[in-house]
Symmetry: C2
Subunit: 137 residues, 2 copies
DNA sequence: TATTATATTGTAATTATTACAAATTAGAAA
DNA sequence: TTTCTAATTTGTAATAATTACAATATAATA
């Protein structure tokens, strides 16, 4: 069941540890762009000796290798995304949910031609989501 | 000299205070997307009794009224921009500079049609800037 | 000029993240 | 399988950004 994640780590020459596997599994199964604290709190249930520093370290390592990506959409805390392909995000200021927006960025080529070397592309929209709009208030 | 900023505040029915004027002036004259601390440190030179909380409050008020915008590009701290029209930004991971990228976002209409209400649009690119590329290393 | 709601100040609290040393462990080599 | 070592995990302490809040001061109105 964890084979998928073992493979991911080995392909990237990253040592396979239970903490890294569980972190990956959590991100894969929770596509809600969780915070470090959300990941930590959940995983600590099953592994009480888990340290939050380990979560920080694991996420950093996974990100460095391009396996996952981090979002700076909220401004106050980092959020993580198992999906590592470029896509956009919508943050609802009302309910706090972060919604995936699957659109291409047609501007990347312009940037590439500008002489800068692009490693990350982030498209963030912020406002009130469809659901919250319907609810009114 | 500060008339420009007085006008901006009055147009938005915001009380005119020296702190707000100086904050606006600083942002207008420093298009480097400064942090709260940078703004505070600089303005404190001329006004030693200035409180950092005031800078936070002023920036929040100005942002609420759409006079300035905040950037969450770095993830660890907010940055502020006098330019309030939609444009993109490039963060160089080497030198830390944030460069304005004047491109349109052709995707906004897609989002608007999706049922979400969009208040902010952020386009962030991260990597190594032209200058740092030339320097090598 | 007097009044009042709002803004500023200063301090303390909160929250996210990083630093770091000691203990543990994954994976290579014997 | 056992040993070894570099890398990882853990736990605590430190740092940094932001927010809360009460007391004081001030802008703008009457």
């Amino acid at each position: 069941m964890l084979e998928k994640y073992v493979k991911l780590l080995k392909e990237n020459s990253i040592k396979v540890t239970p903490q890294r596997l569980e972190t990956l599994k959590y991100l894969d199964e929770n596509r809600t762009h969780p915070t470090v604290d959300e990941i930590y709190s959940e995983l600590k249930e099953k592994n009480p000796s888990l340290s939050k520093t380990t979560i920080y370290n694991s996420l950093e390592t996974l990100k460095e290798h391009g396996i996952i990506q981090s979002l700076t959409i909220s401004g106050t805390e980092l959020r993580y995304d198992f999906e590592n392909k470029i896509h956009h995000h919508f943050l609802c200021k009302k309910c706090g949910n972060i919604i995936d927006i699957d659109i291409e960025c047609p501007n990347i080529n312009k940037i590439l031609n500008s002489g800068h070397e692009v490693e990350e592309v982030h498209g963030y929209f912020k406002g009130k989501c469809k659901k919250c709009m319907k609810k009114g208030s």
